[in-house]
């Protein structure tokens, strides 16, 4: 199977897999209500591959569709601090909603500076693996049923072939949906990655 035809190609997954609150028996109205009640300064928590970045993608789309000015910042082990351009973008944040993916990557002084600079922002949402300074908007803890729904949504024609592997991969990856979807990619690409 060609890379571009693989239903689990990463660009396709990011394009098609949107966060669906009804999969965890809630809805956007409830989430937005909680967002308001917590004064729009919140943390999104969850383990590796639990859907934090996917939530942020969908959340950003919703905010943008309401003509909100959103600043999105992504940090990981390779990029652990904001660039000068990003720090500049945080100036005068009164009309901006800041989304920081990977708050834990900041060191102590950058974290202090970040919260100081965003004190007057119109909204702030950061992602962490565990609880942090801000109250928790949502704690993402997907179960294998969520994984099942993801695979059915992305590749309904291949679900029956992949379904037998999902419980083992789920266990081996400690519930990391992202890793399991990569395993699905490898199976369909005919690359040995069976458990």
């Amino acid at each position: 199977m060609k890379a571009c035809d693989n239903p689990f190609a990463t660009d396709r997954v990011e394009r098609l897999l949107r966060y669906k609150p009804d999969w965890i028996e809630t809805d956007w109205a409830s989430i937005e209500d909680r967002w308001s009640k917590l004064n729009r300064r919140v943390t999104l928590t969850g383990r590796h591959g639990s859907g934090k970045t996917t939530f942020l993608d969908t959340w950003q789309e919703r905010l943008t569709s309401k003509h909100q000015h959103v600043i999105r910042i992504f940090l990981n082990r390779e990029t652990r601090s904001l660039t000068s351009h990003q720090w500049e973008a945080l100036n005068n944040p009164a009309d901006k909603i800041i989304l920081l993916d990977g708050e834990e990557q900041l060191d102590w002084s950058d974290r202090r500076k970040f919260y100081r600079e965003t004190r007057t922002a119109a909204g702030l949402l950061v992602t962490r693996h565990k609880k942090g300074k801000l109250p928790t908007l949502l704690h993402l803890e997907p179960d294998i049923n969520i994984l099942d729904l993801c695979v059915q949504h992305l590749a309904p024609a291949h679900y029956s072939r992949l379904a037998p592997y999902l419980p083992t991969w789920w266990r081996q990856s400690s519930g990391n949906i992202r890793q399991v979807l990569l395993n699905c990619y490898d199976i369909l690409a005919d690359t040995p990655s069976e458990p």
């Binding site: 590796h48 940090l75 990981n76 390779e78 993916d101 834990e104 990557q105 992202r178 990569l182």
Partner: protein, 218 residues
């Protein structure tokens, strides 16, 4: 030795040698083995002592049994790296220094030292896909071989310890993608040189090279 790649379409010959990589790997393995086995000495000692004293510590014994063999494995790998140091070294020369599809390139090879000690000497040309996925705090990288060709495979090095061959990769095969790199995705090419001495494991040295697309003058 992973040599810095020649600039694209470099016409100057490129000489490739194992260099200090084999020695570096050996010393790294020695250091790693010393640290690991140095730590494992304690649980193994306390485990044996607890059994001798008649009050066996099951947990420490379990850890010693589980992790102890890894130390033996590291000692084995250390000796493997030691053997590799005594493998005769080789020198490869590419002329021109980069390969271009549709244009011939000469590969000259030479085994330095006691070539007769080698029982087999093989050079492969290998093409690799490399894809890096960055999501959340993690970066996952995978590599896959899409092309492999044996350039030379010699089993009697008493007769020949040097030689040359022409690498001529067709421009229109429809199967060859030149070297290419973007932020997260790469096509890489390498020469894998495998040398084997009798009664010793083989040693494989990997050298990344550049294969250029067909020149169009753009």
């Amino acid at each position: 030795m992973k040599k810095k790649e020649h600039s694209k379409r470099d016409q100057n010959p490129q000489t490739i040698k194992p260099g200090g990589k084999r020695l570096g790997k050996f010393f790294a393995m020695v250091a790693f083995s010393l640290v690991w086995n140095g730590i494992m000495v304690f649980p193994i000692y306390f485990s044996i002592k607890s059994w001798q004293d008649g009050t066996p510590d099951v947990f420490i014994s379990f850890m010693a049994i589980l992790l102890g063999p890894a130390g033996l494995l590291m000692i084995g790998l250390m000796f493997l790296r030691l053997f590799a140091l005594f493998n005769p070294r080789h020198t490869l020369t590419l002329t021109p220094g980069t390969i271009t599809l549709g244009e011939p390139t000469n590969l000259n090879w030479q085994i330095n030292g006691k070539a007769h000690r080698l029982s087999r000497f093989t050079i492969y040309l290998v093409g690799l896909e490399e894809a890096e996925f960055e999501r959340g705090t993690d970066t996952v990288s995978v590599t896959k071989v899409f092309f492999e060709k044996v350039l030379i495979d010699i089993q009697d090095l008493k007769k020949e310890s040097t030689g040359s061959l022409e690498i001529d990769l067709p421009a229109n095969s429809g199967k060859l993608m030149p070297s290419w790199e973007s932020t997260h995705n790469r096509i890489k090419w390498a020469l894998y040189v495998r040398s084997k001495m009798s009664r010793c494991p083989s040693v494989t040295d990997k050298y990344f090279i550049t294969i250029n697309p067909v020149a169009t003058g753009i």
